[in-house]
Symmetry: C2
């Protein structure tokens, strides 16, 4: 069976022409493929998605590719050949949605811009994902996740205030942007149901990063620049105590603002601090944050380890958590019970863990036994079943190098 697993799920019946690579775009389309949509991942010959070359941890197979491309079909086409582009155009009428994350302008040069797509299918939905957007003076710039993050002001909010900021080692921008794009597409599909019309969507990492600012933008604006939001190290700057504390072997997150403060004072056996007007309110504690955090740090230092501290804190109803390493999460009972982490089994790379689907529904499993496609694995199925090509046409396209398949 060469087809993707045709499992009934929320998005069964939708077909996506997926022209994306690396992370933001593939995250978007994977949310669809794992929920039952037919996602045709069009890869550029000869090498396909560039992530096929990273995280090749077993049998030359990219685990990165697998994580982001479960249950998609791979159709590998030479974009530089007119016959290759013609095949992509032929696919458009069979698809509800086209998703792309080329640099702005490229899709138009390929003859696959929104107007060109509409000529092929009037109600097509085109979702364009980019670093800095399809419009505006910065839109032409070369973009990667850290570039959009730096422009967005988010980088400036991470780190110690008197030092250079730090760069998180996770896909904050790409994953969130892929999810925003998935929502935008689903909304456009609902709109198409109601009106019969298609849509072009412009989703940028910059805009999605900017969306993370919960208070900074209105604070700087409404104060006419008097308030200048910036990073605050290990602790929140506007309430106290909320932050990261050391406990012997490791670190602990503690949230003891508002009414949790008096609970913490009880836990520390310091009822005097709960009543002292210098410490009673967040506004007062923020003014003497270093002192307050020092008291807590000294108290936490009396525990043998972080578990003992958490037991004590939770007995007093104080929200807290150990800072888990990634290694600790993959065997954690809660992660396993809930499917926050899951095991995939790949025909080439074998079994290993990846993050579980973050969408859990009452009617369908979150994590089906999906696999990711080999490069061009579904060339024939796509050309025969969707485009109605004959055996001899398919052979000719293969022999002339218009479509290509790989072992991996």
């Amino acid at each position: 069976m060469e087809n993707a697993l045709n499992t009934e799920h929320l998005l069964t019946g939708i077909r996506i022409l997926d022209l994306t690579r690396v992370l933001a775009g593939p995250t978007c389309t994977r949310l669809f493929s794992e929920m039952g949509a037919d996602v045709i991942k069009v890869e550029s010959a000869p090498d396909g998605d560039m992530v096929r070359n990273i995280s090749k941890m077993r049998n030359e197979r990219s685990l990165y590719l697998i994580q982001q491309n479960l249950n998609k079909r791979s159709f590998c086409v030479d974009f530089r050949k007119p016959e290759g582009l013609a095949l992509i155009r032929e696919l458009v009428p069979h698809c509800d949605v086209v998703v792309e994350n080329f640099r702005p302008g490229v899709i138009d040069k390929m003859g696959l811009g929104y107007e060109a797509l509409k000529a092929l299918r009037e109600d097509i939905i085109l979702c364009s994902i980019s670093a800095l957007g399809q419009s505006g003076p910065l839109s032409h710039k070369l973009g990667y996740d850290p570039i959009a993050q730096a422009y967005s002001g988010i980088t400036s909010m991470i780190g110690e205030p008197d030092e250079l900021p730090v760069l998180p080692s996770v896909g904050l921008g790409d994953v969130s942007t892929g999810t925003h794009a998935a929502f935008a597409i689903a909304a456009a599909l609902l709109h198409r149901h109601r009106t019969g019309r298609g849509q072009a969507l412009d989703i940028a990492l910059l805009d999605c990063y900017y969306h993370y600012h919960e208070a900074g933008v209105h604070q700087v604006s409404a104060s006419d620049g008097t308030i200048e939001p910036t990073r605050a190290g290990r602790h929140f700057s506007y309430v106290c105590p909320v932050g990261i504390f050391p406990v012997k072997d490791r670190s602990l997150v503690l949230v003891a603002f508002l009414h949790h403060w008096s609970d913490l004072c009880a836990a520390m056996n310091r009822p005097d601090l709960a009543e002292d007007p210098l410490y009673a309110l967040d506004a007062e504690r923020v003014l003497r944050r270093d002192e307050v955090n020092g008291i807590i740090t000294d108290w936490l230092d009396t525990f043998e380890d972080v578990s003992a501290a958490i037991t004590k804190l939770e007995a007093h109803g104080i929200p807290c958590a150990p800072v888990l390493t990634v290694k600790e999460t993959v065997t954690h009972p809660h992660f396993l019970a809930r499917g926050t982490v899951r095991t995939v089994t790949d025909p080439i790379a074998g079994s290993f863990q990846i993050p579980g689907m973050p969408i859990k529904t009452s009617e369908y499993p979150a994590d089906n036994p999906y696999v990711a496609p080999r490069l061009g694995e579904h060339n024939e199925a796509v050309m025969r079943d969707l485009l109605g090509k004959s055996d001899s046409e398919i052979t000719s396209l293969v022999n002339s190098g218009v479509v290509i398949a790989g072992d991996n």
Copy 2:
């Protein structure tokens, strides 16, 4: 006109019963309200959403509340009174979706669990948002964004490797989780179109945070724990150079991995480094990362300021960006041109800026002149127009304190 702005948009015609507060839930429902859905924000009397008490920067009006609740209607009900809960139940048949972010279990105790809702409307979609999920051994714990972040392993990926991690001062978990929830709801609405059936959705900050791990989970798993992903300070750990560099007055993000390295060598007038086998490949440069970053830092130090450095880097096609402060973003031409930042005008608080809608469509404006509701502003409209209450019934509910309104 007391109603929300009834502007045609992608999600016109959908009605949401919004039982959420603070950030993750309101982010989800705001994506709907700004795209034309009718969102009835049910607030708990007497005070309503607790964020009405923060960021009260002008005329005692919460700018935080405004940012997250544009174009919603406010219905303020006493949850502790049976008549209050009865009103909420009466609303269910008029709504397509119920969204809640109470602590797991609370919605059942209120008599508004999924089975109870289904009895009121067979095809109802319930979206439950929580910190650690509705199931699993940790699900009962008190949760806030930093708690879920610590458990997810994300906190461990932010900061210098030999120091405690740092806590970003932005809503990474809540905003992303709200967006995941919005996508899940839209998918469930598409499914309802196809099948006529409703759905219960379980969306957790923990799962959405875990979704950010682009490589760490499969790396630790497939290496049987030999690879232990952790934070890497200001630079990526697996390619080089990608990171944050100082330039006189401020900091700069530079992405010069893969083929960009030879461009950087040309910019630095160090063609020798492009050809030297000790520096030619990312794998080699990662081994001598401090040395490579030192060479770049010394070179960047020869520029007068960050603009001069960027001009030089961009002339060589090297992706780079200044680390903007939040204050700099609100006047930046790109942000203004694109609507990455937008101005809202509130009847009480006046005009100020907030992040623009991250979903840009071809057919509708991203940012309409929406306002956020005063506490209970739409009590009457909801009771009269949706529930068919008479004037005397409404008066009675107001006089007995079942519904409450505020000035702000």
